[in-house]
């Protein structure tokens, strides 16, 4: 117990030299959470088009909540279409024939033609809405994983500089030493939880109860910490480890659909996405949000197993390193 307390205190003392990183990452995480609330809260138009009258006498279609129309004298360049400034260019000749130029898929073209006929048509079925709570967890995911990685700096430095050998041969308990680092990492996610609490108090709809958020964040963080420990035990230099860890965290989180949910209808690729623990965590969060947890215990079990296996592997590798050199 005294090892635990000493190491934890020492971690906080060493935070001073890293304070810039910690504050920066925390601010970015909080900003991303607020951004996710904004995105969940505002309704976006289904299509933004540029209308080119081209000398025709026809009146431009009206903008509505689903359709935003900009009238242009000349067809805007193709680059505006590629950059998604507009979803489509619509022009009409004097006979009233409408031509649509777009890069989007056939579903979109069908929907756009229907919208041009009737700007107030109801297309709410087309929207994929996964709820405020799951959105919040998704937008936090990548940053919390990076934060968990950054907060293992003490362990990584101890390992690189050989302090770990000294811990191993001292009467201090290795388990308590690692537990203290993990606990430190968990404590540093307090600002994110506080933000959620404040939002809840201010009456915002955040999708989950605070208890549910605490549980989901705990799952996510444990996963991040286990991953950080694992990579750091495998790779000697902390700089290289954190660069690799962050790259993997960014790629897999995006692929798991933390920012948008994708469905690809491709067996192999769907399988790859499915084995990502982040995807399983999001599925579990969605189940919690919908109140059906029975069928989704697999997802939860997967996330827990992933975390436990990484912890166990790190422990084994660590013992081997320490004893082979000591």
């Amino acid at each position: 117990m005294s090892t635990f307390r000493t190491v934890l205190k020492n971690d906080f003392a060493r935070m001073a030299q890293r304070i810039g990183t910690v504050i920066t990452l925390t601010i970015v995480t909080l900003a991303s959470m607020l951004f996710s609330l904004h995105v969940s809260g505002t309704q976006q138009v289904m299509a933004r088009i540029a209308y080119i009258p081209a000398g025709g006498a026809q009146a431009a279609p009206a903008s509505s909540v689903e359709l935003s129309v900009t009238v242009c004298e000349q067809t805007p360049p193709l680059s505006d279409l590629v950059q998604q400034r507009y979803d489509a260019y619509v022009s009409a000749d004097s006979n009233g024939n409408v031509t649509v130029q777009t890069l989007r898929n056939a579903d979109f073209q069908k929907m756009l033609l229907a919208l041009l006929q009737n700007p107030d048509a109801d297309f709410s079925a087309y929207r994929q809405n996964r709820g405020t709570g799951v959105n919040l967890i998704g937008y936090m995911m990548m940053f919390l994983l990076m934060l968990a990685f950054a907060n293992q700096f003490a362990f990584a430095n101890d390992k690189e500089q050989g302090q770990l050998m000294r811990v191993a041969v001292s009467p201090a308990s290795m388990g308590a030493y690692l537990a203290a680092h993990c606990c430190y990492s968990l404590l540093l996610t307090a600002p994110e939880f506080l933000l959620l609490a404040v939002l809840k108090l201010l009456g915002y709809d955040i999708g989950f109860t605070l208890g549910q958020f605490l549980w989901l964040m705990l799952l996510l963080d444990s996963m991040g910490i286990a991953f950080a420990l694992f990579i750091n035990t495998l790779i000697r230099k902390p700089d290289n480890a954190s660069m690799l860890g962050n790259s993997v965290a960014v790629l897999t989180s995006v692929l798991a659909g933390s920012f948008y949910a994708f469905s690809k209808n491709n067996v192999v690729l769907d399988f790859i996405v499915k084995i990502l623990p982040q995807k399983q965590l999001l599925d579990y969060a969605e189940a919690v949000q919908n109140g059906v947890t029975t069928g989704y215990s697999d997802s939860l079990a997967y996330v827990l197993a992933f975390t436990v296996v990484l912890f166990a592997l790190s422990w084994v590798f660590l013992q081997r390193t320490v004893h082979s050199k000591g």
Binding site: R18, S79, N105, S247, F262
Partner: protein, 246 residues
């Protein structure tokens, strides 16, 4: 000049021998393009259009992240101490930081040019009517971003602080500039913010080159980035203090 060259050669070798930097600028950059392109390709009629968007925006993201190459090559723990010895030699301080900028530039430009030369033809992404201008426009952009990295190091004196601040600034500019997803769909407020990000101007210039064969934005961006690079290098001279190394 001979003195400068020997420092430059050493710096360049250091960068190319760093597996993380090489991997980050090639494999990771390519994976980002593939993953983002793959994820969004479903909403396009032609899947290659998704790769066209992310091929160009992620290239710009990579070029701006070149600032981190410079800060890593300048202030990494193993490099910082040898730098101290150069300061005491009769070479002077200018070759010290300018060689970091120049070597990072050569390294990044080689990596990114190779990356697009392989990926773009693979996905049928066009360089525009004159590929020469595409590669020419990359030069001042790369140079401005490595100068930014060196400049931050001169001002902040440590790699940790410089890298953290740089990655925040670059990521923020890129998110606001529409690198990862276009902000135009999020309402008029975001559409205005995105116009203000320099990343957006870069995107506009490169997309105009590739899609419209238009050189309209080429010279303003070329001149602006070159001017910025010169200003930042001059700024290094102003902020670089030998005492910081003692």
């Amino acid at each position: 000049m001979r003195r400068f060259l020997s420092i430059f050669k050493m710096d360049l070798a250091n960068l190319f021998k760093n597996p993380v930097l090489v991997g980050y600028n090639t494999v990771f950059a390519a994976l980002l393009i593939l993953v983002m392109g793959f994820l969004t390709s479903g909403s396009y009629a032609d899947w290659r259009d998704a790769y066209r968007y992310y091929g160009i925006t992620m290239l710009i993201y990579g070029m701006l992240n070149g600032a981190m190459t410079a800060s890593n090559g300048f202030m990494e723990r193993d490099i910082k101490r040898p730098n101290l010895r150069i300061i005491f030699s009769p070479v002077g301080s200018f070759p010290l930081y300018f060689s970091k900028s120049l070597s990072s530039f050569v390294f990044d430009y080689t990596m990114h040019a190779a990356l697009v030369a392989v990926l773009f033809p693979l996905f049928g992404i066009s360089f525009g009517a004159q590929p020469f201008f595409f590669f020419l426009l990359m030069v001042p952009v790369e140079f401005a971003s490595v100068s930014l990295g060196t400049f931050f190091c001169c001002v902040l004196h440590t790699e940790e602080a410089a890298s953290t601040l740089l990655s925040l600034v670059v990521s923020l500019l890129c998110v606001l500039g529409g690198t990862f997803f276009s902000l135009d769909g999020l309402g008029p407020a975001f559409a205005l913010i995105t116009r203000l990000s320099p990343t957006k101007w870069l995107n506009d210039a490169f997309f105009a080159l590739c899609c419209d064969n238009s050189l309209q934005l080429f010279w303003p961006v070329f001149a602006g980035a070159s001017g910025l690079a010169v200003l930042l290098t001059a700024g290094c001279r102003f902020f670089f203090r030998t005492e910081d190394y003692l």
